[in-house]
């Protein structure tokens, strides 16, 4: 299997290099015969990488511990579903997963792209093949997942306990889908630059890819937050860790692109900016991988570090220089078709939204690399942690939330004073009312108050937009309210799906604001003893320690501390938090501990607040041995559920915006025509 896997990777490398060279040559010389061959080579690369991936999975499932990777990340007693996810538990498997997903997307791009954009496909194949060649080369030269050991251990080292979590079976692939799918819009952008066809054609070709990529990134980041929340045990879900930041960076630039592309489509503006954003998103995914893999910046995500950082950095530099040189060469052909008419217009609001989104991306990047810069300049090592990022990014985030509400209220082209007054009055009243109510209720945290008020303002905007659309449909078509909502969304999926995404974003902010009101307590309790805690919503919780039970479970020994909870005097269930000692087996069949003991939290969640219990450890008894007396850390985390609900809205809204089929109305087309939308027809020289 290892021979087959390595052989497949080599063939994939040769095909990718061949595809890169001939794709550009074929596109350059307009040779359709070469173009057809290259499409086949893209599919052949996919087949090779798939064979290599299956070979690695076969090695993992059959416990072939002679394979270094299998011995390093699995063990005989590892549950089946974690055997599946062990594929991407380490550096080498992650690279293979990256390669596999890229191969899938590269093939899909060739298969799904319509005839209207077929001329771009050779160059698209060239770019995806070049990226694929880099990843496969990195594997075969520096991080081959099929490397064998000089001996065969009886059992593997096992999977890091923190990765033995259901969210870790989905979060990494989702993140990779998000990261890697940015390659396709990037490839189309390069194709458009090379061909000099810089009208809206390439934008239309990548629309679904960009939204797909954005949805994957959004969901993956949130799943990572959920994993951190339930697995790391510190009570939060975002710690501004460099690897978390790395995943946020392309999401921010993609979000900026999804807004600015609308200006290009409707008004023919921001062409240069859009190309730059698509390229930046792709490069930031590579940068993220560089951060994750190189170890150049200290991170809690140390699962998969190795020496491939230099490879990624080299690729980043070379590809960056080539791309932005190409953009510079095509600069004159990316002139806007029409100028901006007014500062008070939706175009301007979108531009400021872009400034803030890219500003946050810059701020996050700046904070992530600032320790290196500071040490380089001053020679002093510093730490840039949570307080720094919160201080720098919170105002920008709130500005973004405000623009989320303001943008849809301003008309395209130019808004009049009367129009602004009519549009703003309901959202402003909503925001001010919520602010007043919270102040009256005694809330005094400035950031939280601003977040809730702006979230209410944005919600007011969305309700107003939906309300007007629904009322118009009910009046014009005599529809009932539910039919009107359904048809309103169906007829303009992009707009109303986008508003659902905005609901998701504001719900994230509501969840984030809840972090200002976390209460926590440490206590050590003997069985039967209790501790009380008052939640931010005013509930009195009582936690009664029931005892510690120990038992074997799958590949671990578990010590479970159970706690009975009452809320406002009423039973609220029993929660269990655990210490787990995982083990593997030696040649004699004896159980051998693997890794340090890990902690599993107990969690009870509802729409208001989460009860979050951590079994910190057993207390030494009178005889010097660990007793059933337990040390606990208990948190009441308000509004966390809204973060996960926000993700649900993001997902549903995103799916609606990209749902296939024609949802256009004659009205929408007319409006676009009135808005000055002009199309450079395919083949027409600008």
């Amino acid at each position: 299997m290892t021979l087959l896997g390595t052989f497949s990777l080599w063939v994939a490398l040769l095909l990718s290099v061949w595809g890169t060279v001939f794709a550009f040559a074929g596109g350059w010389r307009t040779r359709p015969d070469l173009a057809r061959t290259i499409t086949r080579s893209v599919h052949a690369v996919f087949a090779c990488v798939l064979v290599a991936s299956l070979a690695l999975w076969k090695g993992i499932i059959s416990h072939d511990f002679n394979i270094e990777y299998v011995a390093a990340y699995t063990s005989r007693n590892l549950p089946g579903y974690y055997l599946f996810s062990a594929f991407w538990a380490g550096q080498r498997g992650s690279l293979l997963l990256w390669s596999l997903v890229l191969a899938i997307f590269a093939s899909l791009a060739q298969l799904l792209t319509g005839r209207r954009h077929a001329q771009m496909l050779p160059y698209v194949a060239g770019v995806t093949s070049a990226v694929q060649a880099f990843f496969v080369l990195t594997m075969v030269a520096a991080a081959n997942p099929f490397d064998r050991l000089p001996y065969t251990p009886f059992d593997g080292r096992g999977l890091n306990p923190q990765l033995q979590n259901v969210y870790m079976t989905i979060h990494p692939p989702m993140l990779y889908f998000g990261y890697i799918s940015t390659t396709i819009p990037f490839a189309f952008a390069i194709a458009a630059l090379l061909q000099g066809k810089l009208d809206t054609g390439w934008i239309h070709a990548i629309r679904k890819w960009t939204i797909t990529s954005w949805i994957f990134l959004s969901v993956a980041i949130t799943l990572g937050m959920k994993w951190a929340y339930v697995e790391l045990g510190w009570g939060g879900y975002w710690a501004w860790d460099p690897v978390e930041n790395a995943s946020l960076l392309p999401w921010l630039t993609m979000t900026a692109f999804l807004h600015s592309v609308m200006i290009q489509e409707k008004r023919g503006m921001l062409k240069r900016w859009n190309v730059a954003l698509v390229a930046a998103s792709f490069f930031l995914t590579i940068f993220g991988t560089f951060i994750t893999r190189s170890g150049v910046i200290q991170s809690v995500h140390s699962f998969a570090q190795s020496n491939v950082g230099t490879w990624f950095l080299s690729f980043l530099i070379v590809a960056g220089i080539l791309t932005y040189t190409l953009l510079y060469v095509r600069w004159p052909r990316l002139e806007p078709e029409v100028p901006l008419e007014s500062m008070v217009s939706r175009e301007a609001a979108f531009l400021f939204n872009n400034v803030i989104l890219v500003g946050i991306a810059f701020s996050v990047l700046w904070g992530t690399v600032f320790p290196i810069i500071s040490e380089w300049v001053t020679g002093t090592k510093i730490t840039v942690g949570v307080p720094f990022f919160n201080r720098v990014n919170a105002p920008l985030g709130l500005g973004l939330l405000a623009l989320t509400g303001i943008g849809p209220l301003i008309a395209w082209r130019k808004a009049s004073a009367a129009n602004l007054q009519r549009q703003f009055i309901f959202p402003v009243i909503t925001g001010v009312s919520v602010l007043g109510a919270l102040l009256a209720a005694g809330m005094r945290d400035g950031y939280a108050l601003t977040s809730f008020a702006l979230a209410a303002f944005t919600f007011g905007t969305i309700v107003q937009e939906y309300g007007r659309g629904v009322r118009a449909r009910m009046r014009m078509h005599r529809e009932d309210v539910f039919t009107a909502i359904g048809r309103l969304v169906a007829r303009n999926r992009r707009r109303y799906g986008g508003y659902l995404v905005h609901v998701g974003v504001l719900l994230y902010f509501v969840g984030f604001a809840g972090q200002a009101f976390v209460v926590q307590k440490q206590a050590n309790l003997k069985p039967g003893e209790s501790v009380t805690l008052k939640s931010p919503f005013g509930y009195d919780y009582t936690f009664t320690h029931l005892g510690i039970s120990q038992y074997k479970q799958a590949n671990r020994m578990t010590s479970a501390a159970s706690t009975r909870i009452t809320r406002a005097g009423k039973p609220h269930g029993v929660m269990t938090s655990e210490k787990r000692q995982h083990f593997t087996t030696d040649a004699s069949g004896n159980e051998v501990p693997s890794f340090e003991p890990s902690t599993e939290i107990g969690l009870r969640t509802d729409l208001r607040e989460d009860v979050y219990i951590v079994f910190a450890g057993a207390i030494r008894g009178a005889d010097g041995l660990p007793s059933e007396e337990a040390s606990y850390r208990i948190n009441i985390n308000p509004l966390v559920m809204w973060v996960w609900i926000g993700c649900l809205f993001l997902f549903i809204g995103g799916i609606i915006t990209m749902w296939p089929g024609s949802g256009a109305t004659a009205l929408a087309s007319e409006r676009k025509g009135e808005g000055g939308y002009r199309v450079a027809m395919a083949g027409a020289e600008p």
């Binding site: 809690v300 400034v355 730490t383 840039v384 020994m557 009178a622």
Partner: protein, 202 residues
């Protein structure tokens, strides 16, 4: 709670279960229960429970100490602050020691600033979770904000100028379509392609 509300709440929670579900794995019943022994039940398996917990003292829950520790980095390579590390990473031996040290200083009457200064003296400026806003560190705090403000200002000025120029030229009344097919002059084939392009824009 009314029946309808209870039903809605159950439906919403059921729908959200995949996202917000409890940690089911942590609630699984045991397979091989092992009996404890002793007054409060000494644990049968002394190894798997990990490092023993420390007895909680009142200062463990002191809000001022918590805030102080949230601003100080644990000396271990975890990258976390002392509070988070000592209440999360139960294998770390540095953060509990740092916590004891801080409690000792507090009991000795030292202020938060004095304790912070002691840690900076001992471990260097990297002991702070966020660098002091002074000297070169100011660049860390100010550059992002200045960059956004500058970008916003430049954008505002450029857009205002362009809008003025365009308004003066009357560009909006009769937009110049040089080099592009005019919709009004387009052939039926071009119009059909335009219609398809617009239909995609929904």
């Amino acid at each position: 709670m009314t029946g309808r509300r209870a039903w809605l709440r159950t439906a919403v929670l059921a729908g959200l279960a995949p996202l917000g579900g409890r940690v089911l794995a942590a609630q699984e019943p045991g397979l091989i229960p092992l009996g404890g022994r002793g007054d409060v039940g000494a644990l049968a398996d002394t190894f798997s429970v990990g490092r023993l917990g420390e007895r909680t003292v009142p200062l463990d829950n002191d809000e001022a100490i918590r805030k102080l520790e949230l601003g100080l980095k644990c000396p271990c390579p975890c990258g976390l602050d002392i509070y988070t590390c000592r209440t999360t990473d139960f294998t770390c031996t540095f953060s509990p020691e740092s916590h004891k040290e801080i409690m000792g200083y507090v009991q000795g009457g030292r202020s938060a600033d004095e304790i912070t200064a002691i840690f900076v003296e001992k471990y260097g400026e990297k002991a702070l979770m966020a660098p002091k806003a002074e000297g070169f560190n100011l660049a860390g705090y100010l550059v992002p904000g200045i960059a956004v403000l500058m970008a916003g200002t430049v954008l505002t000025l450029v857009l205002q100028r362009r809008a003025r120029v365009a308004a003066a030229a009357g560009a909006f009344a009769a937009p110049s379509n040089a080099g592009l097919p005019q919709v009004g002059n387009a052939t039926p084939d071009e119009l059909e392609r335009l219609r398809r392009a617009m239909a995609d824009d929904a």
